[in-house]
């Protein structure tokens, strides 16, 4: 891969966005979990729940701050590295980002200070409301950012305006209620809830293994496992919804994920594994399950899912129509307000495919001068990297199903087996802590890498979206971000580990007193203690 401005800008965006998303899912989920714990505290008045709220709240804070800090980069990076993109689609894409600030960021950021500083200044109920507002704010912010991202995947409610040379919004309603955005939103926040559940469960399992903070740990597991089970189911169901919407909005991405080169008679089979080969345009050694792909993708037995080769042919037609639109656009641009109405008419007829003409800019300055050969090449460019998508998707889905299994197991043991978790299961809980992050990053990879070669699907190619910068500029900032982010990551992990080792430090005495007084009530029906008390370290 050649290190030009486009590749470096992509690398920088991928790096800073994926880094940002190390912190976001935990913020999304932990804010809700902490709010649930505090609600139980307010309802039952048992000090252990306040202890839990404060302890998980401390870890939430360490994580939250880096989410906020790295989010600053995201808000400005479009302008810094993607200035043509910003001009071209800012009229639509900017709106959800601004609304995110108005509706979400202010809410979470204003109240998060009170969450930490307000314990002695607010009533119990008021503090609980503050915590819920923080959780609500984080989740709203996911909503608007996914509306923005959903538009890049499925650009509805917008039209090209030849006078301002950009896409302009025609329907705010369509942008907000974009089916891709809505499915992605629930999928993403559910993934955040799973992440936080696995985190809380894993840390608590470690405490149980060490025989520390048992009261806190077992209650935390109960909350995390039940919440996590519901969320893990939701992730998979909404992931399926995303697949269904991709079958009519992003056919190429779907076909690439599936490694499906030829259109198959309906209902198409699902390639469980296989080795996609771009050169041969074939997926070798595919192990397929009949009907499944057709059912997932179209929810019917008769609808066809087009394969990659047919989609390339369609792209070729679109490029040709795009060139017609481009030609009309040039006339309009030259003559401005005086352009003949005929040119405007031709433009409007073909403007939906204008973006496809821009794919030719890689080969020729003026798309109208492209040869038949170049058009074929540009059409072939619409195939994203099939093999990485194929594998990333399968790994993500595999992890998604395994979360359901783990959460179901822990929820069952917590509810019906008196919380007597075998040690192997506790170790399992500890070991899987990093996996939801892996699944989340893979998910973003599939979504964004699968959209290539476009920044906005069918509208603006990635290669055209960048800023007028030099390779040196990008190398400086890339090196800066890598260094800076690495240091921050080490510091963050160090503090996380330190505070997990330290365990809860507040309300310890009150909790113990309360436990001693109420121990008899907490016995299970078989007369044994709920958990053999072990001496604290």
């Amino acid at each position: 891969m050649e290190l030009d401005v486009v590749e470096l800008s992509r690398l920088q965006f991928a790096m800073t966005a994926m880094y940002h998303f190390l912190f976001v899912p935990l913020t999304l989920g932990l804010s809700v979990l902490v709010a649930i714990m505090e609600t139980v505290y307010v309802m039952t008045n048992r000090p252990v729940w306040r202890q839990m709220t404060k302890f998980w709240g401390t870890l939430f804070g360490i994580n939250f701050v880096l989410g906020v800090a790295t989010g600053i980069t995201m808000e400005f990076q479009f302008g810094m590295n993607w200035s043509y993109y910003s001009h071209y689609v800012g009229d639509i894409f900017g709106a959800p980002l601004a609304i995110e600030g108005l509706m979400a960021f202010f809410l979470e950021a204003t109240f998060v200070g009170l969450f930490f500083f307000g314990w002695d200044k607010l009533s119990k109920t008021a503090h609980m409301m503050v915590t819920w507002l923080v959780a609500l704010g984080s989740n709203f912010s996911a909503l608007w950012i996914l509306i923005a991202n959903g538009w890049m995947q499925n650009p509805v409610g917008a039209q090209f305006n030849p006078d301002s040379m950009r896409m302009e919004m025609t329907s705010f309603f369509e942008v907000v209620f974009n089916e891709v955005a809505q499915a992605k939103f629930v999928h993403t926040v559910s993934a955040g809830y799973v992440t936080a559940s696995v985190f809380v469960l894993g840390v608590s399992a470690w405490y149980l293994l060490k025989g520390r903070h048992i009261e806190l740990a077992r209650r935390s597991i109960a909350v995390a496992a039940s919440f996590g089970l519901a969320s893990a189911l939701s992730v998979v169901v909404l992931g399926d919804e995303s697949g269904y919407s991709a079958s009519h909005t992003q056919k190429m991405k779907l076909a690439a994920i599936e490694g499906m080169w030829e259109t198959h008679a309906a209902p198409a089979p699902f390639n469980l594994i296989g080795f996609p080969d771009r050169e041969a345009r074939e997926t070798h050694y595919a192990v397929s399950i009949p009907w499944v792909m057709g059912l997932i993708g179209t929810r019917s037995l008769t609808e066809e899912i087009p394969g990659i080769n047919d989609l390339v042919d369609i792209a070729e037609d679109k490029i040709k129509r795009g060139v017609i639109a481009y030609d009309a656009l040039m006339t309009i641009r030259e003559q401005r307000g005086n352009a003949p109405s005929e040119a405007r008419f031709i433009f409007e007829q073909n403007s939906d495919d204008l973006g496809f003409a821009f794919l030719l800019k890689r080969y020729v300055d003026d798309p109208r001068e492209a040869t038949e050969e170049q058009i074929k090449q540009a059409a072939a460019d619409t195939i994203p990297g099939v093999a990485p998508l194929f594998w990333a998707f399968r790994l993500m889905v595999g992890l998604g199903f395994s979360f359901i299994a783990v959460m179901a197991y822990f929820a069952f043991m917590a509810s019906f087996r008196g919380m007597r978790f075998p040690r192997w299961s506790l170790w399992l809980g500890v070991i899987i802590i990093p996996t939801p992050w892996l699944a989340a990053e893979l998910g973003w990879f599939v979504a964004e890498f699968g959209r290539q070669p476009w920044t906005v699907d069918g509208v603006l190619p990635t290669a055209l979206s960048v800023s007028h910068l030099s390779v040196a500029d990008l190398l400086i900032t890339l090196a800066g971000f890598v260094t800076f982010y690495t240091i921050l990551f080490i510091i963050e992990m160090g503090l996380m580990v330190k505070y997990i080792r330290k365990g809860p430090t507040e309300d310890v005495e009150e909790t113990e007193t309360w436990m001693a007084r109420h121990e008899h009530r907490l016995r299970t029906h078989d007369g044994k203690g709920p958990f053999a008390p072990e001496p604290a370290e």
């Binding site: 804070g61 302008g79 910003s86 800012g90 960021f105 998060v112 641009r333 500029d473 900032t477």
Partner: protein, 386 residues
Amino acid sequence: MILFELIDFDILRVIWWVLLGVLLIGFALTDGFDMGVGALLPFVGRTDVERRVVINTIGPVWEGNQVWFILGGGAIFAAWPPLYAVSFSGFYLAMFAVLAALILRPVGFKYRSKRDSAAWRSGWDWALFVGGAAPALLFGVAVGNVMLGVPFYLTEDLMPMYDGAFYAKFLGLLRPFAILSGVVSLSMLLMHGAAWLTLKTEGPVQMRARTIGTYAGIVAAVAYALAGVWLALGVDGFQIIGEVAPNGPSNPLYSEVERGGSWMAAYSARPWIIIAPIMAFAGIALAVMGLRAGREVSTLLWSKMAITGIISSVGLTMFPFILPSTVNPDSSLTVWDSSSSHQTLFVMLVMAVIFMPLILAYTAWVYKVLWGKVTEDEITGSGHSY
């Protein structure tokens, strides 16, 4: 949807120009004292406990304040996409420096108290100093460059391009007038930070803040006056020639612009805008007197008035220009040709009208809950403070 035609395009553009100003002022009034306090930290706090007092005055509120900056970015993106596209890529390395400083700051607040080591804490103190002082200075430098004009141009496809020497080199931004603007911005925010510390602290920390704040206020007034003189005598203005089309399409190349004349001509064309510099000077004078006398609430309010005056004077002087271009004046961005579409401006206005009052209401409530001095006893006695 025809609803958006309820408000004319040109009126929406002016409203969003005002709202852009409101956001920038909101940012300077709230996050401004955070930056000022950060920059003052090593000087007003000598011991660890004193520094913790200083940090805890802004500890609970900096996150909310910083959102003004983020929202400013988002609003520029949504309402003025060409400005967003041109400015942040044009000031590329300066923007990176600002981002790095602003990322350091939240991390510093949160992580400083998490370990006891003196080296750890003093390291974060300097991070907070840089995180406060560097953006305070650089924002002023950026505004100075905007007034001087920026060497960008737009291609026929409206792709922003830059004359090489400028954008690539961070140092290209450090033109003398721009540095003077940076001094205005830094000293004004130092004064504001000092006014905040006067309200929230007591004893030696408050005394030191009041002393430094007084000097900062005087520097701000002198530098602001000098910048005005310089603007009148040594900086070219810009003007639209030919017909102005306030309802025209958002294409900067459709209008003809000429460099020449003076920005100060605005004061003869619209004499009422003199109120902005008057607010600025009066605000600084009253804030300085308040700092010397030790008045707490009123000093902060006067300091806010001074900042509002200074920032408004920049916008009002340049109207309708937002970002003039030196190499190709026709590419200059103005209120009439670099906004979002009619519909987007309308939708965003509806959103702002719904959410801004809510934001102001709950922010006010949070400040009310947190009202009162931050004391050493409170910090050492509580497990939650930084």
